[in-house]
């Protein structure tokens, strides 16, 4: 049920064959709008080189020949990087983000750049210039069958679901079997949220563990490259490749030993904390119930489960809003139409050019956040907003420190308030309202710099994925993933059934763990 199959069960496959299968799936699922750019030629060339290495017995490791996708806010040398914004349409970076380079150095195949909310500002993957991303689960057998049972549900495609965001393209890409792993970014939950809605493992590493060089920033002090995979083991493999000090990112730290994920047999020495402030009225009863069952599961297997308090939780989202928009205002200042990206036709003055370029280049969400952020940074407001928010941020970080100091190893919380909602439902509220709702359980982790991971636990009554979040101590990413792996094994989350959608094309990929892909030599 977990989907572990022995290597080579479906017959061995060459990197090129695997690459072509994925490319064909990308085409078949084009309507999901998961990719902004499909780098077909690059991927095939990389596959060819990988194949040569396999033939010569010089495979570079677990990722050699493995198709991956990268969110379109990571710089990729020679491949357009847009941040789903008019501002960067046509911008081709001359360098690779460190994380991209590390994946390529391991022989991974870059299938393409995935869709997102403009500059990663959003929680639905609905607010990018290339249009919204559709959740593959909208077309799953599990969801379709449940809908048929409901006499009120409309037929047809009009009520497709959002993926969550902002890394919705990466989540859809992995979920629809077009790649094994995808890079997302996580500033307030942008990797974990779509992972929860798409039934994936969505891992946000500790701040400072993985380089941000080349990631086009949203909030430098909170951004972390995220990893989306189907299984915890796969996330660990990717993390093992990405983690470590990067001389180009002064906020990264060296790691002393390689990351190895062992199987946890015994949880009796484990202490799981349940933060009481995370039980909010808006939480869906179904998720609340699963959260409680997960806690019971740990307890029944011998772990200590205790209630903990993170007393400043309720101030977190507004504090996040102030800090996020302030850094956004600053980070977006470089997009002035002079050096790269969009430039308007107006040339009456430099100031007029700046204004028109930025009005045309950014959507309402980005412009709104720039406006708020500049307001908070004004000399007369700085103390009252920015400094105050920084102080609250410290209190929030200390809440976590206190919880962990009380003996808790890992915190267990919901990832989202509810399962994925239909697009038409989602857009009834504006981006700001949605972000405030959807980041509620996730952004505090970013403010504290902690590692956190979404693990899918079960399908809802509607047949949609529900995930829970595990939060670990800073730089205890390995311990966190070890616990997550144990939990993953217990819950046996079902595989998405997309046979109707992709005509069994995915048979070879389905149920396949990255770690057990058997590439022909």
């Amino acid at each position: 049920m977990l989907g572990l199959i022995s290597p080579g069960q479906n017959g061995q496959i060459t990197p090129t064959e695997l690459c072509q299968k994925c490319l064909s799936l990308i085409k078949k699922t084009k309507f999901l709008n998961a990719y902004i750019t499909v780098s077909e030629e690059v991927a095939l060339k990389q596959a060819e080189e990988s194949e040569k290495r396999y033939k010569n017995g010089q495979s570079l490791g677990d990722l050699d020949g493995i198709p991956i996708a990268v969110k379109d806010n990571f710089s990729t040398s020679g491949i357009e990087t847009t941040c789903a914004s008019n501002m960067l349409k046509g911008y081709v970076p001359p360098y690779n983000a460190t994380v991209v380079q590390k994946l390529l150095d391991q022989g991974a195949l870059l299938m393409g750049k995935t869709n997102l909310d403009e500059f990663a500002m959003g929680s639905g993957s609905t607010d990018g210039v290339f249009g919204p991303v559709k959740n593959p689960w909208s077309y799953s057998k599990q969801y379709r069958e449940k809908r048929k049972q409901n006499p009120h549900s409309e037929s047809g495609d009009s009520d497709w679901l959002i993926t969550g965001g902002s890394s919705g393209g990466s989540a859809a890409a992995v979920s629809a079997f077009t790649c094994y792993a995808a890079l997302g970014s996580d500033t307030g939950g942008s990797t974990r949220n779509p992972a929860a809605h798409c039934g994936l493992v969505g891992f946000k590493p500790s701040y400072g563990l993985v380089s941000r060089h080349g990631l086009i920033p949203l909030v430098n002090s909170m951004d972390v490259p995220g990893i989306l995979t189907r299984y915890v083991d796969d996330a660990a493999i990717v993390l093992g490749v990405l983690a470590g000090h990067d001389p180009k990112d002064s906020t990264t730290v060296p790691i002393n030993k390689p990351l190895v994920l062992s199987s946890l047999e015994d949880v009796s020495k484990l202490c799981i904390g349940i933060p009481k402030e995370y039980l909010v009225p808006e939480l869906s009863s179904e998720i609340q119930c699963l959260w409680s069952r997960a806690a019971d599961l740990f307890e029944s297997e011998g772990a200590k489960v205790i209630e903990v308090s993170l007393p400043h939780t309720s101030y977190s989202i507004v504090c996040y809003h102030v800090l996020c928009t302030s850094e956004v205002a600053s980070n977006m200042a470089r997009f002035d139409g002079l050096q790269y990206g969009h430039r308007c036709d107006i040339d009456v003055s430099t100031e007029a050019m700046y204004a028109a370029t930025r009005r045309e280049g950014f959507n309402d969400v980005v412009r709104g956040r720039i406006l708020s952020g500049n307001f908070f940074l004004l000399k007369e407001n700085y103390e009252n907003y920015f400094v105050k928010a920084q102080k609250v941020r410290r209190l929030i970080a200390n809440d976590f420190v206190n919880a962990f100091n009380s003996g808790v190893d890992v915190l267990l919380t919901p990832t989202t308030l509810s399962e994925a909602v239909p697009y038409l439902e989602f857009i009834k509220e504006d981006n700001r309202t949605r972000s405030a709702q959807d980041d509620i359980f996730t952004q505090a982790v970013n403010m504290a710099g902690l590692p956190a991971v979404n693990i899918p636990i079960a399908l809802s009554n509607q047949g949609l994925p529900i995930g829970l979040q595990f939060i670990g101590r800073a730089f205890c990413d390995q311990q966190l993933l070890t616990v997550a792996k144990w939990f993953e094994k217990q819950v046996q989350f079902p595989v998405i059934q997309l046979q109707e959608l992709v005509d069994n094309c995915s048979a070879i990929l389905e149920n396949e763990k990255l770690a057990s892909v058997s590439l022909k030599q």
Partner: protein, 516 residues
């Protein structure tokens, strides 16, 4: 862009300027275009006494000026403050620009160790307190040559604070007197330089060069005036002064302008002004009239900069990864004030001469090299280096390193003078020949031009005798007791010997002959 810059803020210093007749230009009425040297001396930063004790004439108001300087100095380093790209003078535009320098999205600053060391060294040299923890901030404004839309600087917690610099000014009517003065240094901060805009008015275009690395010194001067005992006046900021001379002129002008404005019932606006070099006046920079809010914010991509000293150094720390203040202190070269003191002690030099020797790049070394090779008195050497040698350099606008005369050549020349082989006027002639770079030694020039002093006393006595015989009237004058008349005879004898005779010897012979 992003050439490393050190920014020093000198705390506003104040001095009193009295409105008196004659000695001061700070009279009532509109400022004139030019200022007297006297006033330049008073108000320029390097020479202005903190309080000039001039008594105001009865019924006139006393004004005090407060001046604070923001000094931008480029750090001499191989690469930029936050990127690995090089720093090189006069490189082709935009040829030394990294992805970070061009502010490509996703690039991050990485602090240059050499720049931090230079900042610490500067802080130590200026008697600052070195902050063991300092922070970086972003300062935002839109300008075409600021590609990130913000500049990384140290606004809240700079690397060094509370320093002082002592210096001397020449004062008094004789101007030979050096009065020690002190200026307070508020802070030293590491700052990324912005780009360079080149305005092409003809095509109404602006070209941007992101190399940086030019304009080694730039000063912004903040100036206000007030009546002593009353609150400080509204300040103006004169931006982008790139020479000490213009800095002094701009401050002079601005103080006068403000006094005159206020005395005529006007008011001073808190504004940015620029100095018009040709007209010698400051003008309001209209384009920056709107008050800027720089929206300072901590730079999130640079962790706090931590420095250590011998006591706080973590055990087993990799020396490549930490910066040790004590270690930098040990590598500090002798500071100018110490050198000047040493020169005065060692050579009996006048303090003002020690200043001149140090103010010209390479001049001290030149002087010391001459001293090593010559038997001449230090006083003589000082006089030749500061008057004749420096005079020739200034006349041709040359640096010491470009001098056609080597220290060895000057040493040899001074030896010839010292041994009375040549006269001092002949020595000047030799120096002029040396300046022509014809590759001859002073000895060769002296013998070719026959500039040796006449050593043959008999022949010299003959010259004296002839001159006296030919000028009986002058001889009479001497005998009548006119003390200056003998000088005329000496001059005539020197002329007759083609300047090859020692005037002292001539005088001795003449006196002997006259009294006989």
């Amino acid at each position: 862009m992003a050439a490393p810059m050190l920014r020093w803020g000198c705390r506003g210093r104040r001095w009193a300027l009295a409105c008196v007749d004659g000695g001061s230009c700070h009279r009532r009425g509109a400022p004139t275009g030019s200022t007297s040297n006297r006033i330049r001396g008073q108000s320029s930063v390097a020479q202005q006494p903190l309080h000039t004790a001039q008594k105001p004439r009865k019924g006139e108001h006393k004004w005090a000026a407060v001046v604070g300087l923001e000094i931008h100095a480029q750090i001499s380093s191989n690469s930029k403050l936050f990127s690995g790209s090089q720093v090189r003078f006069s490189a082709p535009p935009n040829s030394l620009v990294s992805f970070f320098d061009a502010s490509l999205p996703g690039t991050l600053p990485v602090l240059n160790r050499r720049c931090v060391e230079a900042a610490v060294m500067t802080g130590l040299a200026l008697n600052c307190h070195i902050n063991k923890k300092s922070l970086f901030d972003r300062k935002h404004y839109f300008y075409a040559d600021l590609p990130a839309g913000y500049q990384i600087t140290q606004h809240r917690l700079p690397i060094a604070v509370n320093g002082s610099l002592t210096y001397g000014i020449s004062a008094g009517k004789e101007c030979g007197q050096v009065i020690p003065k002190m200026v307070r240094v508020k802070q030293i901060q590491l700052e990324q330089d912005s780009g360079k805009s080149l305005h092409d008015d003809l095509r109404s275009q602006t070209l941007i060069d992101l190399n940086r690395a030019e304009g080694q010194l730039r000063v912004d001067a903040n100036i206000s005036v007030h009546h002593p005992g009353e609150p400080l006046g509204v300040r103006t900021e004169v931006k982008n002064l790139n020479s000490i001379r213009f800095l002094a002129k701009a401050i002079d002008y601005e103080i006068q302008r403000q006094i005159s404005e206020l005395e005529n019932g006007g008011e001073i606006l808190n504004e940015t002004r620029s100095f018009h070099e040709k007209l010698g006046c400051t003008v309001s920079m209209r384009d920056k009239e709107a008050k800027q809010d720089y929206r300072f914010m901590p730079e999130p991509n640079l962790p706090p900069l931590l420095l250590y000293d011998a006591t706080s150094l973590p055990t087993g720390a990799d020396p490549q990864q930490v910066i040790n203040i004590d270690q930098i202190r040990e590598t500090l070269p002798e500071l100018p004030s110490v050198t000047r003191e040493r020169l005065v002690q060692q050579y009996g030099m006048l303090p003002e001469h020690s200043f001149t020797l140090l103010n010209e790049v390479g001049l001290l070394e030149f002087f010391q090299n001459v001293m090593k090779e010559t038997r001449a008195e230090p006083k003589k050497v000082t006089s030749w280096v500061l008057n004749i040698f420096l005079g020739y350099l200034k006349q041709e606008n040359l640096a010491v390193s470009e001098s056609p005369v080597t220290p060895s050549a000057l040493a040899e020349l001074l030896d010839l003078l010292d041994s009375r082989t040549i006269s001092s006027s002949a020595a000047k002639q030799v120096f002029e020949e040396l300046w022509k770079r014809e590759g001859k030694t002073p000895g060769q020039i002296v013998s070719e031009k026959q500039l040796e002093l006449m050593q043959d006393r008999g022949a010299l006595e003959q010259f004296c005798y002839s001159v006296m015989k030919d000028h009986p009237q002058v001889v009479m004058d001497v005998k009548k007791g006119n003390p200056r008349a003998i000088n005329k005879l000496i001059g005539l004898v020197r002329k007759a010997t083609l300047n090859r005779a020692d005037p002292a010897v001539i005088k001795e012979i003449l006196e002997k002959q006259l009294s006989s």
